[in-house]
């Protein structure tokens, strides 16, 4: 007999869901980096090592920036991941993000509020803006059974053109000779965290708190219970008398609100030059942060806490990618790496099994069979 106790311990660790999605993500990251390095070697063998080092550790020197850029993709990651737990693919995070940004800007420029509340109201307005653009695909899905992917893609364009148009015709917000928005009044800027050389603001702290709140909603409340039940098996949810339609709309509204907050956090951050803030250029481009949110969500396994880490990580290597241009690489090299990482994290299940095999094979033949059971969904009992 193999020692029962040892086997059990190993099993209970490798069996936990968190562990397996974590190992899968690590594996995907590792393969993505290896692949990126190979591409760099092919492109320019001479500076590949230096460039690769920038990608991997470059972000460490700009921690503030890493967190600043992590804030919006953390929020859009939550927007995609939260809806995904209910089985909805919210591909409209970009449109919701843009709307949130616009609503925040509008309150920032057009409303005159006392300093201490101005930015708070603007943030809330941003959330409302995103919620509206989550609500519309949600109601189409719930009442007319229109696929949310299609509506939310269309609303990416509607949001982007609508916002660009609204900004361009508003002289209080827009500087036409510079094709960008004005600097926000200081009362409407997010309080800076004061990290030298970066734009990081309280946005990241709020974002992390919101992620934790979402985690609590998903895991501890009846709404989360219903939401996940619907995501796993909508027929059983219906059979149990859950209000599927209401939940679809509510989920999309919350998801939209997340992306909207992302837009608000991104645009309301103070910039490094005193008194200035981030600006928006209405040049008919769909916000990339919305799509990055899909990547963040996938890498974080749609889990709010996982998304905190995946957003930080993706932001980190994006910063590194920018630095890689110092040795002659296009910053887009990092998009290749991220793409490969996402590609591999989509194979999470396969990765899980192969990693477990790798770990367990070292502990003898007995363990190997356990992997088999995991892999066989039918079970044996």
């Amino acid at each position: 007999m193999v020692d029962k106790k040892d086997r059990f311990n190993l099993k209970s660790i490798t069996k936990s869901k968190g562990f397996s999605s974590f190992t899968a993500a690590l594996m995907a990251i590792f393969l993505g980096l290896v692949f990126g390095f190979i591409i760099m070697l092919i492109a320019d063998p001479g500076s590949a090592v230096a460039g690769f080092r920038y990608i991997v550790v470059g972000g460490l020197r700009r921690v503030g920036d890493v967190f600043y850029f992590a804030t919006p993709i953390l929020m859009t990651g939550l927007a995609v991941g939260f809806a995904f737990r209910m089985g909805l693919f919210n591909i409209g995070a970009s449109g919701q993000y843009t709307m949130g940004m616009f609503f925040a800007l509008y309150v920032g420029f057009m409303w005159d509020l006392p300093g201490s509340t101005h930015w708070i109201v603007a943030v809330i307005a941003g959330m409302v803006g995103g919620m509206i653009f989550g609500f519309i695909p949600g109601i189409f899905k719930a009442l007319l059974n229109v696929n949310e992917v299609i509506t939310s893609i269309m609303f990416n364009y509607i949001g982007m053109y609508f916002v660009d148009m609204m900004i361009q015709k508003n002289s209080a917000m827009y500087v036409s000779e510079m094709t960008r928005t004005k600097y926000l009044p200081e009362t409407a800027q997010l309080p800076s965290l004061g990290v030298a050389g970066s734009n990081v603001s309280v946005g990241i702290i709020l974002a992390i708190l919101i992620a934790i709140v979402l985690y609590i909603i998903l895991e501890k409340t009846t709404f989360g219970y219903e939401l996940k039940a619907t995501g796993f098996n909508k027929y059983a949810a219906e059979y149990a008398g859950m209000q599927g339609k209401r939940n679809i709309i509510l989920t999309m509204v919350i998801a939209g609100g997340m992306a909207g907050l992302g837009g608000a956090f991104a645009i309301m951050a103070p910039s490094q030059i005193a008194g200035s803030s981030m600006t928006y250029e209405p040049i008919n481009i769909i916000a990339a942060n919305g799509f990055t949110g899909i990547a963040v969500s996938l890498l974080g396994n749609s889990h709010p806490l996982g998304i905190i880490f995946s957003a930080t990580f993706i932001s980190h290597i994006q910063r590194g990618g920018t630095l890689a241009s110092l040795v002659g690489y296009k910053p887009e090299i990092i998009d290749i790496v991220i793409a490969v990482i996402i590609y591999f994290s989509a194979f999470a299940m396969i990765m899980n099994t192969s990693i477990k095999k790798f770990f367990i094979e070292k502990f003898g033949k007995k363990g190997k069979e356990e992997v088999k059971i995991e892999a066989n969904s039918e079970g044996v009992e």
């Binding site: 086997r7 059990f8 099993k11 501890k220 409340t221 009846t222 709404f223 219970y225 996940k228 039940a229 796993f232 098996n233 027929y235 059983a236 949810a237 219906e238 059979y239 149990a240 008398g241 859950m242 209000q243 069979e369 356990e370 088999k372 059971i373 066989n376 969904s377 039918e378 079970g379 044996v380 009992e381």
Partner: protein
Amino acid sequence: MEEVKVENYIIEMLNITKEFPGIKANDDITLRLKKGEIHALLGENGAGKSTLMSVLFGLYQAEKGKIRKDGKEVKINNPNDANALGIGMVHQHFKLVEIFTVLENIILGVEPNNMGFLKKEEARKKVVDLSEKYGLRVNPDALIEDISVGMQQRVEILKMLYRDNDILIFDEPTAVLTPQEIKELLQIMKDMAEEGKSILFITHKLNEIMEVADRCTVLRKGKGIGTVNVGESSKEELSKMMVGRDISFTVDKEISKPEDVVLSIKNMTVPSKLHSNNAVKNVSFDVRAGEIVCLAGIDGNGQTEFVHGLTGLEKVSSGEITLCGKDITKASIRQRSVVGMSHIPEDRHKYGLVLDYTLEQNMVLQRYWQPKFQNKGFIKFDEVRKYATDLIDKFDVRSGRGPLTIARSMSGGNQQKAIIAREIDKEHELLVAVQPTRGLDVGAIEYIHKQLVKRRDAGKAVLLISLELDEVMNVSDRILVIYEGEIVGELDPKVTDLQELGLYMSGAKRDTEKERENG
């Protein structure tokens, strides 16, 4: 070990032991399959039948024991090895590509080709020949998603025959079939055995074994209990071997004492999703407290739509449903549940359980919103755990990790027990049980029937929807026969017989409205 003439057996599985963590699925089991015989493998859910067959088919490797084919020891590491040895398997859940045609599915993996170009005509000829030879009626060009379950099974059988397998494993093939289809399948199996194919038939339906099998090996809790010649055995003996105690095939119950009307259905009509006709036409009847009313009929005569209309999964187009004096015709599913309806659904995987949830999460699926289990929207996890543990004990639901077991990993019988526990323990006046024993073994069936009778004796109304004639006759106090969406007769199980019931079910006999009213 006894001396045997090796050449008699086409497959021998000797002293097979297969362990999973915490459970010995197969413990020193020996099974010998003769050429050209139908060999039944009988056992309760979880007795290790499927594991043993998975070992033979190369899905699992045994820790101990060996497998011999034609007397020579063989190693089967994966299904491809099994295939090369001529071993084919029809799984309980079919492995077909829904959007491919029958022919494409059959040749999948062994496509006849010329430098990569498909030679479909050749394949079609072989398939058509095979289907004629064995009476396996299929349309090679139909899409899998469009054909019935029985037809899909024939495709699975053709897949094995197409690969020239001569050892055929059937894993509970009749669980998903209608009585008519079962009859046809058993005939096909007999024909194949006559052609020299050797068949391993996993089942827990004793009638089928008595009808077709030559020999039967019985497993119980992972151990081999013995192999008997079916001709020299009886249903009673086999069931005793399987369960380890005597099983009564009749349900012990007193004469019912119906009281007040609990459920009253008037002129209910439900549209069909498949065709423009109504699936349920103008159905009216009452169910009283303290009686079990059985809606009997051949599959596909509107039972599913009727249940969906009754339970609120679908809207009825006309009619009136009254439960405990309240009109629930337009009520939501949750409202019906609150008024007093419990529902054991037909499809436990699709409706009854969230398979990726744990057992405890599934146990509160109907009640998580009640103040007992939540406070201001926050789930009381302690209460849920306590309640689930109670139910698991009370209803003897067996699983690997108790309340924390993922429902998907439980056996079908225990999944069903969990659903029954949940629905019975919930406050209710009416229990709607739709094919509650489908795919279960005699032990579990006996248990479920007892539970239904217990509900009745507790003064609840029970509406049973069943396709199994034995169940209809044994359990119910009153039988209503549904045919093409209409109630065509009301029978008393004490005076009627299977013959008469069959005539009603097949539409050969029907009462007029008047006759029904006069009883």
